[in-house]
Symmetry: C2
Subunit: 178 residues, 2 copies
């Protein structure tokens, strides 16, 4: 996942939620491009230490460099935008999957540069519906569909705690106790 356009004062909680959603829904990690925000990195790294898995959080790399690195490694770039091909009514998700490549998902915040829509950057422009939206919601639905929902059944290894699902109430297992 690549998060573009983060403004620390305004977007702190939203970017945190984008990262939490990406982690919970099976992304390998998040690149916060063009800027650093150590508080968010701390929050996310702490969640990963407590609740397991191996989610990476990188920051500060210019978006163009991150995209070019990805392309050099033969990866595919998906730009999430309400203007793109509708994930439900078009075959775009099948076309992404058919490439069988690693996917970098770009998700904006403020108005994104026009370049994001061009072939130099995005291989696909995908819309989670063509209505004004939340980037956090878009990330969630894209990942859930991309992984056919299986990501929610994964177990997160080596966390300090795990939730034991319940019909009622809360149950947390302390993984450090014998």
């Amino acid at each position: 996942m690549l998060r573009w356009g983060h403004r620390p004062s305004r977007d702190a909680r939203l970017t945190t939620h984008v990262a939490l959603a990406a982690r919970a829904l099976g992304a390998k990690g998040l690149i916060l491009s063009d800027i650093e925000d150590r508080k968010i990195k701390e929050t996310i790294d702490e969640v990963t230490q407590n609740w397991g898995g191996t989610f990476f959080f990188e920051m500060g790399i210019p978006w163009k460099k991150a995209v070019n690195n990805w392309k050099t490694k033969n990866g595919v770039v998906v730009h999430l935008t309400a203007y793109g091909e509708n994930i439900e009514t078009s075959d775009v998700l099948n076309r992404v999957r058919a490439l069988e490549k690693n996917v970098l998902v770009i998700v904006g915040s403020q108005k994104v540069p026009r370049e994001f829509f061009s072939e130099d950057v995005s291989d696909f422009n995908v819309a989670i519906g063509n209505q004004p939206h939340s980037e956090c919601a878009s990330v969630a639905v894209f990942l859930d569909r991309f992984f056919h929902g299986k990501e929610l059944a994964r177990s997160f290894q080596n966390g300090k705690m795990s939730i034991i699902p319940q019909r009622r109430g809360k149950k947390i297992h302390d993984n450090e106790k014998r």
Copy 2:
């Protein structure tokens, strides 16, 4: 959708995103319980006027009253929580659907009252995975699955504008022009 625990200073953008996600993904409306926030209502009402559909935004009603009203009208209440039954690994979504009733989805912000987990409030406690999460992402995935993805193919009537999906670039149709 019922949004509980909104704190205007801290949650303004997140609650806006929850409402945008709810609208884009097929919810009929959102109740902001226990508090009023006119700025968010204006934002959401403006989105609906511009982009169509009939999403309602109510606010200020105490959560208990909203839940009791819903139950009186024979509706079912789903509480989204990471502690609940996993939507992927359990049959909870089928059990919700089997009732064939109108669903009120409760989504918290801060730590929610214990009562939310009890039979007095929730008929189901549903987890979009049992990892720490974003309420905005949870709402999105719940609605996408609940509606079998069909909500993203709906057209929103009577908006001033519509997006025409494109492989590249942005295309907006001005519905007020002949």
